[in-house]
């Protein structure tokens, strides 16, 4: 038994290092001094941990203990706006996606009806569309409709990504749930109350994961945002960050803002992850 637990803890350690290390190696740059960044080979760890770059990207100067001052980043307005827009857009997209997808996935997973295969194929087609090929059409459509650089426009585009994708995942998930609503239907429940009072509580964990996924897709969407809202008042964090990649590379600020992009989804995931594992299905049929 002792041998098994040593193996287990070793495996956990390896898995954690695997998951964390690439993030650490990049984000450590936020704490390196400009001189350390230029070193070859690069150090494992910064000498001192100071949060100067975080002040910089949100528009404040910071005086390091070593005596020098790093100036506020020119991108700070974009970053702040990106955070606010990102939270706003992602929350709305998450809510709308769930409202649309949960009944849809339920219907596709649990009911037999005509044209079902064709409709499933339509969903698959929407998932398979590569964004690179719809970029120009979307752009020209948005110019005509005056939706360029608006948050509403970005929400609509993002929904075309999240809805089919999350639907596809949830359909598979709903199929695996025990078919108790059939029994409930015999007892005279209507379809709607089956969905609301039986399926929703049962599928809580799947819906939680779907919420995380919709939020992440929306929060991290880069390709469309770059073309449709970059540089406008509706820009999101990913596009704001790409400003650091341009002519004046500021690795420290870049790393700091990447950390900022990871924090909200990580918090969101932390609060929702327990739903995944609290699920212990009591199967009424078996």
């Amino acid at each position: 038994m002792a041998k098994r637990s040593i193996f287990l803890y070793l495996a956990i350690a390896v898995a954690i290092v695997w998951s964390i290390f690439p993030i650490y190696w990049f984000c450590r740059m936020a704490f390196l001094t400009p001189n350390e960044i230029r070193l070859f080979p690069q150090p494992f760890m910064p000498q001192v941990f100071e949060f100067g770059t975080f002040y910089n990207i949100f528009g404040y100067d910071y005086e390091y203990a070593a005596g020098y001052v790093s100036g506020a980043s020119g991108q700070s307005n974009q970053i702040i706006r990106g955070v606010l827009n990102g939270l706003f857009i992602s929350s709305i997209v998450t809510v709308i996606t769930l409202l649309i997808v949960v009944p849809l996935a339920y219907v596709f997973a649990r009911m037999e009806f005509r044209h079902k295969q064709k409709l499933l194929f339509a969903v698959l087609l929407a998932v398979a569309l590569p964004p690179v090929s719809t970029l120009i059409p979307f752009y020209s459509m948005y110019v005509q409709l005056g939706l360029n650089g608006t948050r509403f426009g970005l929400i609509v585009v993002t929904l075309t990504i999240t809805v089919p994708f999350v639907a596809w995942m949830l359909i598979g998930y709903f199929r695996n749930l025990p078919p108790i609503e059939r029994l409930a239907r015999i007892d005279g429940y209507s379809r709607t109350s089956c969905l609301l009072t039986l399926i929703l509580p049962l599928a809580k964990s799947g819906i939680a994961v779907a919420a995380v996924i919709a939020f992440l897709f929306s929060w991290n969407e880069y390709t469309y945002a770059l073309v449709l809202v970059n540089g406008t008042s509706a820009n999101t964090l990913p596009t704001a960050i790409s400003g650091f990649l341009g002519q004046y590379p500021e690795p420290g600020n870049l790393a700091a803002s990447v950390i900022v992009t990871i924090i909200p989804p990580a918090l969101f995931a932390y609060f929702l992850q327990r739903h995944v594992t609290e699920m212990s299905l009591v199967d009424p049929v078996r």
Partner: protein, 310 residues
């Protein structure tokens, strides 16, 4: 599956068309599904139609915008384009490697998270972190991690007395590096769905396996794995689609390089459309990509999905 057949038996025993005033399943399904599908059709159909229009034209910007109808010329020309053939090959390599790695990693992570451990919530959150990283940020991170100038391998090599940097971004390994980064990014998602599925396996079966003195591997192979088949199939398809569509990570990490060593189809489409401004040609390429994606998903369904989805 026992559950499914029991459910079907129940359904079969009730009349499928109810004499009461309730609407039929089909109508209920359409009522819920139709608005969504109409929205998707409108928002997806227009860009799709526009892309078809572009692919049938030669679009010229210099000397005034012109769109000359050229029929299927773009679709045919593509096949005599070396970079297109090269891109198909690289996309195939990238996708197969990504999917296989993601599935294996997902199973490993899920098995670890399925153990009873202390601070399980923290461990789960840490293992979930890569999925919180966006694909462009993952591109930045892995670029930093493996490039000779800034990479971890260089630092390690110097720590142990080496004198040269280690660079994995060379021609030979750049696709593998991209696939590893992609698998790193997608594995937590797969792992979480597998974990949710593992939790539904009755504990009784593990007790039986223990009585039969199955080894850990046999238990995994014959008790844990079979119920996961359907989820594995679904995610094999999903990761295939995501890998073939992957663009921003590749753009940021390698920019298709060195040379064209990591120029996947998505990258070639981007290059043709946005750099060479050859919109019709790029659109034609993107339809081939769409066909390949659909083809790959169907192939997976034919060889695997049909067996496990019943």
């Amino acid at each position: 599956m026992a559950v499914g057949s029991a459910g079907q038996a129940i359904q079969a025993s009730t009349p499928s068309r109810k004499p009461r005033r309730e609407m039929s399943d089909t109508r209920f399904a359409f009522l819920i599904g139709l608005p969504v599908l109409v929205f998707l059709m409108l928002v997806v159909a227009y860009p799709l139609g526009y892309a078809i229009y572009m692919s049938l034209h030669q679009i010229v910007f210099f000397g005034g915008y012109r769109a000359n109808f050229v029929g299927l010329k773009n679709f045919i020309d593509v096949w005599s384009d070396k970079s297109f053939i090269n891109a198909i090959w690289i996309t195939l390599r990238f996708t197969v490697e990504s999917v296989v790695l993601t599935m294996i990693l997902g199973l490993c992570l899920a098995s670890i998270m399925n153990q009873r451990i202390r601070m399980a919530g923290l461990v789960r959150t840490l293992l979930f972190l890569p999925w919180c990283v966006s694909s462009y940020a993952a591109g930045l991170m892995f670029g930093q991690l493996v490039r000779g100038q800034t990479g971890i391998l260089t630092t390690i090599s110097f720590t142990f007395g080496g004198t040269q940097g280690v660079d994995l971004m060379g021609r030979a390994t750049v696709v593998e590096v991209l696939a590893v980064a992609n698998a790193w990014l997608m594995a937590p998602l797969v792992a979480f769905f597998l974990l949710a599925n593992m939790k539904t396996i009755p504990k009784r079966l593990y007790d039986l396996a223990a009585i039969d003195r199955l080894t850990a591997w046999e238990t995994f192979r014959y008790v844990t794995l079979p119920p996961l088949q359907f989820t594995l199939f679904v995610f094999a398809s999903i990761t295939t689609v995501l890998s073939m569509k992957m663009f921003d990570m590749i753009l940021i990490m390698t920019g298709g390089g060195p040379g064209t060593a990591s120029a996947t189809l998505t990258y070639q489409i981007y290059k043709r459309s946005f750099k060479d401004l050859n919109l019709g040609y790029g659109a034609a390429m993107s339809f081939y990509l769409l066909f390949f994606i659909l083809g790959a998903t169907f192939l997976i369904y034919l060889v695997w999905g049909r067996r496990v989805s019943r």
